[in-house]
């Protein structure tokens, strides 16, 4: 019981919400892409670009807000590359997403070498150019807005039909192609914000591979949340709880080796995906153009 009370404190809740922030942004980003019928493996790459350019922007302007916006913009550009190949050239979406991830991993050291003459990281940010709590609120606000749009607006209907029955969207006089472009750019912007909250909020600089699979965990949260905004948000909080427990337990001497703890979120993700907590149904036209 000692351990339990040590784990579940106010600080634990705070660290849970901190950890959930990038996940929420990324899985909401994934929602826009996957609901519109585009498989999104490239979240990780968009987040990395967002994290890098957010840190660079904050370093240059000394304002976390400018960095945050720039991070979103970087994610948007990454998504545009994906969109060009997936929507215009109709290349395989999973392959394209993987290429985007590789590109981001290679591109980041290229940029930091030119800008800061370092092999992969940006210099540390001082306190005034970082966030203290703001991204948490923005993430929750964004999921609220998306919840409303998804369930209560025409936009939500178009989004769902793009992924379920694209032909119906065309019949109703909307262009699936242009709407998918809009959704994929929104996706990129949100994923970029998720990355930005990593480098400006969770950490204090950009470091190589700082997403550590969060793009994929966000995707798992999306699947776990049945591609719906509210359950997805809950799934993000669930994964963040596991991560927070894992981080907290590293400080407590439990006798379990640290690498085992670090693997825990990934193991839970697989178990969740295997549908042992209930199955979920993918959008019907997902991956088919």
């Amino acid at each position: 019981m000692q351990i339990l009370s040590e784990i579940f404190s106010f600080y634990f809740l705070l660290s849970l919400l901190r950890g959930a922030t990038p996940l929420i942004f990324a899985s909401m980003a994934g929602l826009f892409s996957e609901r519109s019928g585009l498989v999104q493996i490239g979240l990780e790459g968009m987040m990395l670009m967002g994290a890098l350019f957010a840190a660079a922007g904050a370093l240059a302007t000394h304002s976390p807000w400018m960095g945050f916006i720039l991070g979103g913009g970087a994610g948007l550009i990454a998504a545009a590359i994906y969109g060009f190949f997936a929507i215009e050239l109709k290349s395989d979406q999973v392959v394209t997403g993987t290429a985007l991830n590789l590109l981001a991993i290679g591109f980041a050291p290229f940029v930091t070498k030119i800008l800061y003459d370092s092999t992969g990281s940006t210099p540390g940010l001082d306190l005034s150019s970082r966030f203290s709590f703001e991204p948490i609120l923005i993430a929750l606000l964004v999921s609220g807005v998306i919840y409303y749009l998804y369930h209560r607006s025409q936009l939500g209907i178009v989004l769902q039909f793009c992924g379920e029955e694209p032909a119906a969207v065309e019949t109703a006089g909307y262009s699936v192609r242009s709407w998918r472009w809009i959704f994929i750019l929104v996706c990129g912007f949100l994923a970029g914000l998720g990355g930005a909250s990593l480098s400006l909020f969770l950490a204090s600089s950009y470091s190589p591979m700082m997403t550590a699979g969060r793009g994929f965990i966000a995707l798992a949260a999306l699947i776990f949340g049945k591609w719906k905004p509210l359950p997805t948000l809950m799934a993000c909080l669930f994964f963040a709880t596991i991560e927070a427990i894992q981080i907290r337990l590293q400080g407590v001497d439990t006798g379990i080796p640290v690498p085992w703890m670090q693997a825990l979120p990934y193991v839970i993700t697989i178990v969740a995906l295997a549908g042992f907590f209930g199955r979920s149904q993918a959008p019907k036209a997902l991956g088919k153009i």
């Binding site: 999973v94 394209t96 993987t98 590109l103 290679g106 290229f110 995707l219 690498p259 990934y266 549908g275």
Partner: protein, 356 residues
């Protein structure tokens, strides 16, 4: 085939023009890339060493592709395989020579196969997306490796994060005739193994009924079920074989060259394997050529790191990514509009509609 080549050249051109942004001369960068792969027997040996591992991971990704699955878990599969081989060699150092490498290889590829079986089984029985599961398996494998190597079999005399050295019987040196051609380089007997395996997989996929069933279940699940082929079983099996193929990297890295497990030994062979398979269009024999291209690129990028001011070895990632993009894009570009524009391609009386 031609489209892959078009994609390849477009991709290379784009990559090299990016170099100009960093203030380097694209042409001299290209020459460094060429020289660093073919400059001397040592250089070529190192490039072939990378090629060997990339053939294994390229075959792994290709075989999964043929069964309609996307294996981005080759990295994790080769990690656990190398881990199993290294742990065997460290914990049982007394095993004599002909049996030791066989034992380590068997355990290594079994570990790789297990790492492929799990996502394959989850995919076919529980419908979990294999991309996310294999990605998670990669992270678990990395955690496992740092636990086993740093807590159980750590080399206390070394400053680097690496395991103890394997028992002397495990190393391939005694039989290794390949190494004699490339003095001091890590190229080894595994190259022959990789080439033989490519041919074997080619025969399996294209000349046996099993291979036919595997490909059929990848191309059309419903049709193959109708024909009495259990596509679920084949998807599980394909991922298992893919895992075993990626596991062969342990022969090249652990038994063939370094003789120990170094944390971070793989320059992401698993992910480059995706590019290799894509460029080869998942053909096992094409994988050989494509792996050599990427192996040379890997070697070249590490020389760029030394010889230029602004380009780091991660530049290889950019080139790989752009090549994947351009090959994936080029193979699907619809060339029909070019035909429609070219008047003399049209036969008399054939309208555009007929052409579609």
């Amino acid at each position: 085939m031609i489209r892959s080549l078009i994609g390849l050249f477009v991709g290379l051109a784009i990559s090299l023009s990016i170099v100009a942004f960093a203030g380097e001369n694209p042409f001299s960068v290209f020459m460094i890339l060429i020289r660093s792969a073919f400059g001397s027997p040592y250089d070529l040996g190192l490039a072939l060493f990378y090629t060997t591992s990339l053939i294994f991971t390229g075959l792994s990704v290709s075989l999964a592709f043929q069964a309609g699955l996307f294996n981005i878990g080759a990295e994790g599969q080769l990690t656990v395989a190398a881990l199993a081989a290294a742990a065997t060699g460290v914990l049982l150092p007394e095993v004599p020579s002909p049996w030791a490498p066989l034992l380590a290889t068997t355990l290594g590829i079994s570990a790789g196969a297990l790492w492929g079986f799990i996502p394959g089984w989850l995919k076919s029985r529980r419908g979990s997306h294999e991309v996310i599961v294999t990605m998670m398996m990669n992270f678990i494998a990395a955690a496992l490796a740092s636990y086993v190597v740093l807590d159980l079999i750590k080399n206390p005399e070394s400053q680097n994060p690496e395991s103890k050295i394997l028992g002397p019987g495990y190393l391939l040196k005694d039989y290794d005739f390949v190494q004699k051609f490339f003095v001091d380089s890590p190229a080894n007997l595994s190259l022959i193994l990789a080439l033989a395996l490519s041919v074997l997989i080619y025969f399996f996929l294209y000349k046996t009924i099993w291979g036919y069933e595997l490909r059929a279940s990848g191309q059309n699940e419903v049709a193959s079920e109708m024909a009495g082929i259990s596509s679920k079983r084949w998807k599980t099996l394909a991922m298992t074989i893919a895992g075993a193929l990626a596991g062969f990297v342990c022969v090249n890295e652990i038994l063939g060259s370094s003789g120990r497990y170094k944390i971070g030994f793989s320059p992401e062979y698993g992910f480059v394997g995706i590019a290799v398979a894509l460029l080869a269009r998942s053909h096992p024999l094409g994988v050989i050529a494509s792996a050599f291209l990427f192996g040379a690129l890997q070697k070249g990028a590490s020389d760029l790191d030394i010889e230029t001011a602004t380009i780091t070895k991660d530049f290889a990632r950019i080139i790989q990514a752009i090549l994947i993009f351009s090959v994936a894009g080029a193979t699907l570009i619809d060339f029909s509009w070019i035909r429609q524009k070219c008047f003399f391609w049209k036969k008399k009386g054939v309208t555009d509609a007929n052409f579609e």
